[in-house]
Amino acid sequence: MTITTGTQRNAAMQAHEIAVTPPTVRTDDPVSKAVQLMVVNRLPGLVVVDDADRPIAVLPGTQVLRLTIPESYRDDPALVRTVDEIHADLFWHGPGKLTVGDCLPSPVAKPATVAPEATLLEVATVMANKRSPLIAVVDRNGRLTGAVTLERLLTSLAVAGPND
């Protein structure tokens, strides 16, 4: 019963309605710019696009952070443990001239995307399976039209769902 009422209220909620317009980065942008964008806009992640505005990668915040970690350390926790404190704090200044393209994993995972008319259930499932607090919304040509954040999704679900 409650479910039916819920769906009736949710019927109009699609991805494009709760999407925001995210700032994007390209592969030749410096890593420092990517981090800055994310922090300044208080986003849980970033979308990397190509020249035609098609998403190449949707990076959760932790993966944007990963871009800043020097490659030697990324997959070697034992090595990281050997770094003394003074040098450890210096890693933040490391990225320097490196671009997002330089630091993306290879091969990069298929970006987490949904169509504009996707239901909230679809969005939730993609987010959970891809473990990403950010999902890109793409049109039929694959071009980025917006992004759904975890916070927006949860808020919409809480507002639209049955009151218990």
Partner: protein, 428 residues
């Protein structure tokens, strides 16, 4: 008449795609194998059961077992510890540092596969060179060269040896007795030669050993118990290989039992270790064996064998020489694994014609030495080279094709020449 031509055509096209990297190599071999199956060029379900015309499961499971074992050893942090310890001992002297890193690499390479060694040793090398403010490229190149040479010493050190050993029925001890002596001598000479080879790179660098001393290598190993248990299991596995003639257990079984023991004894999370297995590499091998089976089944390999035999007649030394130098050259331009998988049945038919078992075996050793050492020839000759160059590139210390090949060619020529002298002196 059509079948052999078709098989050869499919094979050559697939090989070309693999060698030029125009397509993903796993997809390529699977497609080629499937095509051969559909066209009836491989022996149907026998592909799974035939020892000589099918997928060599000994190789697949030996690789699988060792990958699991290595996956656990990786977690111990032992390589980082050793490398940093070596760097501190070297007091930042470039040549001493290079030799110590090469020795660490060479000790590990007969036991672990070369790609893994590079994955373990390269990051810590980059950090050390960074601290010492010296360019990392010469050290990475030296490590790759050392690992390709050292890997030739045992059955499990280099994939070509695993393929050859399984096909020719050569045991772990056979490799120790026949390959290891040559490899030890050649490696020693290589180390002695290192100073000259890398002299321009090692000259007059401003060494700041102080910053290396700040690294805390003890923290690399969090669980000494884990390390000890892992090393114990590894030692038992090696012993298992060596006792083949007594226990009559195939190396692949030893490796699988060792992998299971490793997981039990170290209490490592299975889910963490399974991703360490390079499944795509295993599938690649399966497809490759299926493709070669097609060549064997349609008689292409038999024909090649006959050509080789008529070319050499009774001159077995010439045959061995051709195998050694031929493998060294060809294997340098194509990845030495597909090369070895393809040539192994040819060498098998040649060895079958040999007048006595010793001469037949000599052909195998010449082939093995050539195939393993060819891995140093060019930047693409072996997977370890490609991996090292990729890591160096992404860390901002690029190694160009020619920079690597310049050193690689010299080392390959010298090691092959020395190997030839060894084969001549020992077997002919």
């Amino acid at each position: 008449m059509l079948a052999p031509v078709l098989a050869l055509a499919i094979f050559i096209v697939a090989f070309w795609f693999i060698a030029t990297e125009r397509a993903n190599k796993v997809k390529t071999v699977l497609f080629a194998a499937a095509l051969m199956t559909v066209l009836g060029l491989i022996p149907g379900a026998d592909i799974f059961y035939s020892e000589h015309e099918g997928i060599d499961w000994n190789v697949i499971f030996l690789l699988l077992g060792m990958m699991v074992i290595v996956g656990v050893i990786k977690q111990t942090g032992v390589f980082d510890f050793l490398a940093i310890w070596a760097a501190k001992r070297s007091r930042g002297k470039p040549l001493r540092l290079m030799v110590m890193l090469m020795i660490i690499t060479a000790i590990a390479s007969p036991l672990l596969d070369n790609v893994t060694i590079i994955l373990l040793v390269a990051p810590v090398t980059l950090v050390i060179c960074d601290r010492l403010r010296i360019p990392a490229q010469p050290y990475l190149i030296a490590e790759v060269l050392a690992s390709n040479i050292g890997g030739a010493a045992t059955l499990i050190g280099d994939p070509p040896n695993i393929i050859i050993g399984s096909r020719a029925g050569l045991t772990f001890n056979d490799f120790l007795v026949h390959m290891a002596p040559a490899v030890v001598v050649i490696f020693a000479l290589f180390v002695a030669f290192t100073g000259a080879l890398f002299r321009t790179d090692l000259r007059g660098n401003d060494i700041h050993p102080g910053e290396v001393l700040a690294l805390q290598e003890r923290r690399a190993i969090t669980d000494t118990g884990l390390l000890i248990r892992a090393m114990a299991v590894l030692a038992l596995v090696i012993t298992g290989f060596a006792l083949h003639s007594v226990l009559h257990v195939a190396p692949s079984i030893v490796a699988l039992v060792g992998a299971g023991a490793m997981l039990l004894v170290t209490n490592v999370d299975v889910a963490e270790v399974l991703p360490e297995v390079e499944w795509s590499t295993l599938v690649f091998f399966m497809g490759l064996f299926a493709m070669v089976a097609g060549l064997v089944h349609t008689g292409v390999i038999g024909a090649l064998g006959s050509v080789a035999e008529s070319a050499f007649g009774d001159n077995w030394f010439a045959a061995a020489t051709a195998l050694l130098f031929g493998s060294s050259i060809v294997g340098a331009f194509v990845d030495n694994i597909p090369y070895t998988a393809t040539m192994t049945p040819v060498v098998e038919s040649m060895a079958a014609q040999a007048p006595d078992a010793e001469t037949g075996q000599a052909l195998w050793w010449a082939f093995a030495l050539g195939a393993c050492f060819s891995g140093n020839g060019t930047a693409i000759a072996a997977s370890a080279n490609v991996v090292a160059i990729g890591i160096a590139q992404r860390a901002g210390h690029p190694i160009s094709f020619w920079r690597f090949t310049r050193y690689g060619i010299v080392v390959t020529l010298l090691s092959t020449a020395l190997a030839w002298v060894y084969v001549w002196l020992r077997y002919f």
